[in-house]
């Protein structure tokens, strides 16, 4: 089911990790709600241009691709500042970019920790902190951080990923407290098992086992996460801040 929020029309929303998976589904919903979508890409300008066209075709009031890697903080600031100068204040931010490298605690290397935390946690914090001055100039600001149920409940072979996602929850709540007086909201979404390219690679037997642990008996889909993200971005959730909302079919109750 798709929901439309009229206040999202022309809203400038920056989303990281919009080229695939959950981020891509969210971006498409933003497009259908006539937002001005801003997303980052790392290395393929042709693909970014074609994604912009796709978003516009779906209804986006505009679509802009910024060339930066979430861990290249100087380039990120440069690209974002130049965008704001040209188009005006960003009033929606979806920190969705993230990676997972599943491995047993015994095998985790320091470099893996650095990489996962840099992308999942530090990148989000640097980008959001940098945008705070811009947020003070904008209206109806909403920040949505993509955490994970794993950040709440932990998971075998995902210690670093879980730590990064738990970190995002602490960061989201702190931001909500610090900026609430300026009506700047920040919430976190904790998806459970969501059907993406990543889950398709899991062996069928393992998938059946995973599904048994979900009270609703099946994976969620990217649309489920997109629906909640748009609700949190829109004024329909204007009194909700500092929340962590699970989209997990009851996986972690």
């Amino acid at each position: 089911m798709n929901v439309t929020y009229s206040d999202l029309q022309n809203k400038i929303v920056l989303i990281t990790g919009a080229t695939r998976g959950i981020g891509n589904a969210i971006a498409k919903e933003l497009a259908k709600n006539k937002c001005h979508i801003v997303f980052n890409y790392r290395s393929n300008p042709e693909a970014a241009t074609s994604l912009c066209e796709e978003f516009k075709t779906l209804g986006a009031s505009n679509a802009t691709a910024l060339n930066f890697d979430i861990t290249d903080f100087n380039k990120m600031k440069e690209e974002v500042d130049s965008f704001i100068k040209e188009h005006g204040a960003i009033s929606g931010l979806i920190n969705n970019a993230g990676i997972a490298k599943d491995q047993l605690v015994l095998r985790v290397k320091p470099d893996d920790i650095t990489q996962i935390l840099d992308i999942n946690l530090k990148g989000t914090m640097v980008l959001t902190n940098h945008l705070c001055r811009n947020f003070l100039r904008a209206e109806n600001v909403s920040i949505v951080n993509m955490s994970s149920v794993v950040g709440l409940m932990g998971n075998t072979s995902q210690s670093v990923y879980a730590a990064s996602k738990a970190g995002l929850i602490g960061y989201s709540k702190s931001l909500a407290k610090e900026l609430g007086s300026r009506k700047i909201r920040c919430n976190a979404i904790a998806p459970g098992f969501i059907q993406t390219e990543m889950t398709e690679k899991i062996a069928e037997k393992a998938q059946e086992e995973y599904k048994k642990s979900i009270p609703m008996g099946d994976y969620g889909n990217t649309q489920d996460v997109a629906n909640l993200t748009l609700f949190l971005l829109s004024s329909a959730s204007s009194y909700i801040t500092g929340e962590v909302i699970k989209v997990d079919g009851g996986l972690y109750i």
């Binding site: 001055r133 003070l136 610090e178 300026r182």
Partner: protein, 76 residues
């Protein structure tokens, strides 16, 4: 308009404190009860009004109207 008058006008508008009650030695935190976020917003207004950039690390030293006025004079 003198720099100090302009600074007082901006602060008065932002804090709703009458300009006649704001002096050169007025302290943002002790006298006007501004918090750190108020201070960031105040400096952003100064930046817009004076067309300058006030480095984040500098704002901690700007405690009074006089501090801001003198700083703006040095960079203008």
């Amino acid at each position: 308009m003198e720099t100090i008058e302009k600074v007082i006008k901006i602060v008065s508008e932002a804090t709703k404190v009458d300009a006649s009650n704001i002096k050169a030695e007025t302290n943002f935190i002790d006298d006007l009860n501004l918090d750190s976020l108020d201070m960031v917003e105040m400096m952003m207004k100064m930046e817009e009004e004076f067309g300058v950039e006030i480095p984040e690390d500098k704002t901690e030293d700007l405690k009074t109207i006089n501090d801001v006025t003198n700083f703006l004079k040095t960079i203008n």
